[in-house]
């Protein structure tokens, strides 16, 4: 059973795309926290937490891919430790744990972002959602890898719809860019459902890269917004 679908020629590109994604998400987290500190608006904080979790998900997958793709001393050392304690093969543990945290944190992050505009949050519903996310993260391995992408896509469809409705209200270029970026990210997840074929996987990753580049441009635009207001 193939562990990852990345073709050999795309290994470095794969990790670089995840690094760019991580950096962009971290920027959004920092901005959200700064916004919360100034306005004390809890929605900013929750948004930041959502971004942070997805950033941690990217970090988990970067670390896992790096270990899997490049035969480093860390893998070998951990392999010896695992062998000493008679546990299953180290590579399998790395794969499952790393990709589990990637899926789990991504879905939790998307769920939090989805829930931000909801005024009355039911604890029961949140517990059920948490359980379903956990189940989805655990079950979407091996031949059922697509479960994660379908779940993430469903979240993104609702998130994109919400932000599209916001764009219809405020007609802001930045909101439009946000909708576009998230829609492309969703398209990337849709493509990844069929990512057993390596070229499809590459295309999905490229869509993810495009999406995060748009988000990066967005955060730069927001940062420059205040500087545009110069005194007369």
């Amino acid at each position: 059973m193939k562990i990852v679908f990345t073709p050999d020629w795309f290994l470095l590109g794969d990790v670089l795309i995840d690094l760019i994604s991580f950096a962009t998400l971290l920027l959004f987290f920092i901005f959200s926290v700064k916004s919360y500190k100034m306005s004390k608006n809890k929605k900013s904080l929750y948004l930041g937490i959502g971004f942070l979790l997805i950033a941690l998900a990217e970090l988990a997958v970067i670390f896992t891919k790096f270990i899997l793709y490049y035969d480093t001393g860390v893998t070998q050392t951990i392999g010896q430790m695992i062998v000493t304690h008679n546990v299953v093969q180290s590579v399998d543990i790395f794969y499952y744990l790393g990709f589990f945290f990637h899926k789990f944190f991504t879905l939790i992050g998307l769920y939090i972002i989805y829930m931000i505009p909801v005024e009355k949050k039911s604890k029961g519903e949140m517990i059920i959602a948490f359980y379903l996310i956990l189940l989805s993260s655990i079950l979407s391995s091996g031949i059922y890898y697509y479960i994660f992408y379908i779940t993430a896509l469903i979240f993104l469809v609702f998130i994109v719809y919400r932000y599209y409705r916001l764009y219809e209200t405020n007609r802001s270029t930045n909101s439009c860019m946000l909708v576009l970026a998230l829609a492309i990210l969703g398209a990337g997840f849709a493509v990844m459902i069929m990512s057993k074929m390596s070229y499809v996987y590459v295309f999905g990753q490229i869509l993810q890269l495009v999406s995060y580049i748009i988000l990066l441009v967005l955060i730069i635009r927001i940062t420059k917004h205040g500087k545009e207001k110069k005194p007369q």
Partner: protein, 86 residues
């Protein structure tokens, strides 16, 4: 009828007005432009001077470097909140 401005919005308005006047303004002009009563303006000016956002130089109210930075950060925050509908 416009909704009531928040505390931070009033501070931002004051800073914006002073910046538009090349960084300094007479207190009376500020009061009219910011649409504040004398008592309100006095309170806000005291607070903003305490925060280091404004300074009184002779008879004029001047925006400080910290005030300009605060205004910039506030604009960025407002744009961020507008983008995400927060």
């Amino acid at each position: 009828m416009e909704r009531k401005r928040s505390h931070n919005e009033i501070i931002s308005d004051i800073l914006s007005i002073i910046q538009e006047k090349r960084g300094k303004i007479k207190p009376t002009h500020l009061m009219y432009k910011a649409n504040l009563s004398h008592a309100q303006m006095k309170l806000y000016l005291e607070e903003m001077m305490k925060m280091g956002l404004l300074a009184k130089v002779e008879a004029m109210i001047e925006i400080t470097k910290k005030g300009r930075e605060f205004f910039l950060k506030y604009q960025q925050m407002k744009e961020f909140e507008k983008t995400f509908g927060l």
